[in-house]
């Protein structure tokens, strides 16, 4: 048995032994995932147990180094753990923006002291991070952001506004892009900074979406003082001052990678086939086929595209691990995943007909299909719109000329 085969066997046994039954529903959604953070309350005993057991093994962040709270797994081992976890339909024990976005950026750009403080606190679920990127005037054109960061000698002084800060109201810290040089070309005056959301002068206002719910916020900075260092060798700025765009760009690739590896047609109603789900709701014709041929064709087309998409995630991930990373191809996955995700809930809404469109006295219930359908409109907007992804593919993958 090779080392990897041995690792697979051990991992399978560990998962079988340690992952509670209730955590094997394959249903990882924003509503039921374990986010962590100071305000976090576990939704069930099973969720708590699964988190604690994974933490003990370094499996909340399996591929991070052991000194920063991970298990130090190689890329191949991490992939095996994922495969074995998915084979039993187990949820991730902990998932949040600290793990998927800030962590990889700190691993690449942080000092040892920065990693020591922040990565460990992410790994053990203590700190929940939010992302301060977009501004009212800087959406797709992110680099034109204007939140001002002034050097006051012993501290930074921040003034401005961020928008679409997901879960800012329940997050503990924020990683933020701020402008430190207003005279330099727009990409060259941006700094990547970390701050405590409890800092004086930060206020948060949730944004109510078309679903009636609010994962997003506006975040205001009014004379916020951010220490220059949090400890020896541990500055609040990641990377070099005025070179935060480099960090942000690397991190955006991770964000797209994360958004691009969702399972688009899973989620709101579990992993079963959309087609069979439709048969249950609509019934069959005299040949035993779904009694709505047009819907049948649309569902089958979506399942075909989803099949090809999942295979592509697998293939491109393998190629990336073997070579130089995913690079701009992550934009292809982000584009495909967000469009498919929208199609998936559109089709479920169509299958449900007027039943699905009926919301009851209390309005659209959090966690309902209608909520997911409405929220999913945002998938092709957040993390770079579909149109921005297509621009990136044109320029970076196809190398088409600029205007």
């Amino acid at each position: 048995m090779t080392d990897l085969e041995k690792f697979r066997a051990e991992t399978r046994a560990w998962l079988a032994d340690k992952c509670p039954e209730e955590m094997r529903d394959g249903d990882i959604t924003a509503e039921n995932q374990c986010w962590g953070g100071r305000q976090w309350e576990f939704q069930s005993e099973a969720q708590k147990l699964w988190f604690e057991r994974a933490l003990d093994k370094g499996y909340t962040v399996p591929t991070w180094p052991k000194e920063y709270g991970g298990a130090g797994l190689s890329v191949e081992e991490g992939k095996i753990l994922d495969e074995e976890r998915l084979a039993i339909n187990a949820r991730k024990p902990l998932s949040n923006f600290g793990i998927s976005m800030l962590g990889p950026a700190l691993l690449a750009y942080g000092t040892h002291e920065q990693k020591d403080q922040h990565l460990n606190a992410i790994a053990n679920g203590e700190i929940r991070w939010c992302q301060g990127y977009s501004e009212p005037g800087a959406g797709s054109d992110l680099a034109s952001l204007k939140t001002k960061c002034e050097d006051m000698g012993d501290h930074w002084l921040i003034n401005g506004q961020k928008i679409w800060t997901s879960n800012a109201d329940i997050s503990d810290w924020i990683f933020c892009l701020v402008r430190t040089d207003f005279d330099a070309p727009k990409h060259r005056g941006i700094t990547f900074i970390l701050m405590d959301m409890a800092s004086e002068g930060i206020s948060v206002k949730p944004i109510v979406l078309i679903s009636g719910h609010s994962p997003f916020c506006e975040t205001f900075f009014d004379n916020v003082k951010v220490p220059k260092i949090y400890g020896e060798g541990n500055p609040s700025v990641v990377g070099e001052i005025n070179r935060g765009w480099d960090v942000a760009k690397a991190l955006l690739v991770h964000e797209r990678g994360m958004l691009g590896t969702m399972s688009p047609l899973r989620g709101t109603s579990g992993p079963e086939s959309l087609g069979r789900h439709a048969v249950e709701h609509i019934g069959t014709d005299q040949d035993g086929r779904l009694a709505d041929p047009a819907l049948r064709q649309r569902i089958a087309q979506a399942e075909l595209d989803n099949w090809a998409y999942n295979l592509t995630v697998e293939r491109l991930t393998d190629e990336a691990n073997a070579g130089n990373g995913l690079g701009a191809k992550s934009s292809m996955l982000k584009y495909a995943a967000s469009e498919l995700t929208k199609r998936g809930t559109e089709l479920r809404m169509d299958v449900g007909g007027t039943d699905a469109a009926s919301i009851g006295e209390e309005g659209i219930e959090y966690g309902s299909l209608a909520n997911a359908w409405l929220y999913n409109r945002a998938y092709s907007i957040l993390g770079g719109t579909t149109e921005v992804q297509l621009n990136i593919i044109s320029k970076r993958v196809l190398e088409l000329p600029s205007a």
Partner: protein, 369 residues
């Protein structure tokens, strides 16, 4: 390695200009016998045939590599009909005697095969009325088949015929492996829009024996499905190659062609369509590879995976060839430019053994809806 060798050989010996010359000369065979002999020499004709029978044993993934490269150069050859359909039929469903007789002859390039399945203009293997009546110890075959690819040049025909049951029954279909060059078989060549050749075949009272049956009498539907699955996956690989090549030609054109004082590739209207197509091409490549792997790993259960791959590759290759013409503008619709040749070939490959709609519906049915 096989990939580089194939690309090198085809680039040198069978570029698109060679295909164009075959077309312009109205070559009766529709392919070059010299080229085929060289391909056989390199082990391509027996690519899926076990080494014990003179093949090279590369499996369906290997066949897909070759088909993809031939799709890039639009190489016309008996590869699909003989080396994929014929070899699959004999290797998977033939008797020991069939294998010993036919597999070495396929691998050496000496024997050409064709599969006669359809009886109408739209692929429908559930609809078979070609008759095989019991007579003494054997059968008498009579009936007509349409669009038999390479039927005009085949030495051997594999015919799906009905030994019992009704027109649309899956039970009662039997596969026969017969000589093509006999007086009872008449073949009418039907040149196609892609400049490859096919034939309408009429059989009138051909006497055959039980030794000519491939697989089980009356149970030929399953064998037919297996042979078609292989054909669909490899056609998918061919279309993938055509789509990738025509897309790369188009992308290069977008970088060179100027209008309004700019490279047309700088226009967002074309960029976004190109980026969408590039994404779809990645999806297609993944699906095609999966179907070929499925055939190698578990041939019997690969059918639906091959249908999904055929559907995706058909859709994407059609989009790629249509976009290629549109983005080339006026020259895209001229005979002088190659993009039209790809457009025409992909259309026929898409029709062959079921278009995307056929396979999407087949998938839905298999998935229980």
């Amino acid at each position: 390695m096989l990939q580089d060798a194939a690309a090198g050989f085809l680039g040198e010996n069978a570029p698109v200009t060679a295909f164009r010359a075959l077309r312009d000369d109205k070559a009766a065979d529709g392919f070059s016998r010299d080229l085929w002999a060289e391909m056989a020499q390199m082990g391509w004709a027996g690519i899926i045939v076990d080494e014990g029978f003179g093949g090279s044993g590369f499996g369906y993934v290997g066949a897909g590599v070759l088909a993809e490269k031939m799709g890039e150069t639009l190489t016309a050859s008996p590869f699909l009909s003989t080396s994929v359909l014929g070899a699959t039929a004999v290797q998977k469903y033939g008797t020991k005697a069939h294998k010993e007789t036919h597999l070495p002859a396929i691998s050496s390039g000496d024997s050409l095969f064709a599969l006669a399945v359809d009886e109408g203009p739209r692929h429908n293997p559930d609809h078979i009325s070609f008759s095989a009546k019991t007579s003494g110890n054997g059968y008498i075959l009579s009936g007509a088949k349409t669009f038999v690819a390479d039927g005009h040049i085949a030495d051997k025909l594999i015919i799906a015929a009905r030994t019992s049951g009704e027109d649309r029954d899956q039970q009662g279909i039997t596969l026969f492996l017969v000589d093509a060059d006999t007086p009872e078989v008449s073949r009418e060549s039907t040149p196609m829009v892609d400049s490859r050749n096919a034939a309408n075949i009429t059989v009138d009272g051909l006497e055959v024996t039980g030794d000519d049956v491939l697989g089980e009498v009356g149970q030929g539907y399953e064998a037919l499905e297996g042979i078609l699955a292989a054909g669909r996956a490899v056609l998918g690989a061919e279309m993938s190659g055509s789509a990738q090549r025509v897309f790369s030609v188009t992308t290069e054109y977008l970088k060179e062609r100027e209008q309004f004082g700019q490279k047309i590739g700088s226009f967002q209207g074309l960029q976004h369509r190109s980026a969408h197509l590039a994404t779809e091409i990645e999806m297609m490549k993944s699906g095609v590879l999966k179907s070929l792997q499925a055939l190698d790993e578990n041939f019997e259960t690969a059918g639906i995976t091959c249908s999904l791959a055929k559907a995706k590759s058909g859709e994407v290759a059609q989009l790629a060839t249509k976009e290629a013409i549109q983005m080339h503008g006026g020259i895209g619709v001229t005979d002088e430019y190659d993009v039209g040749l790809y457009f025409k070939r992909v259309h026929v490959a898409q029709q062959m053994f079921g278009d995307a709609g056929f396979h999407i519906d087949r998938y839905a049915k298999a998935a229980g809806y």
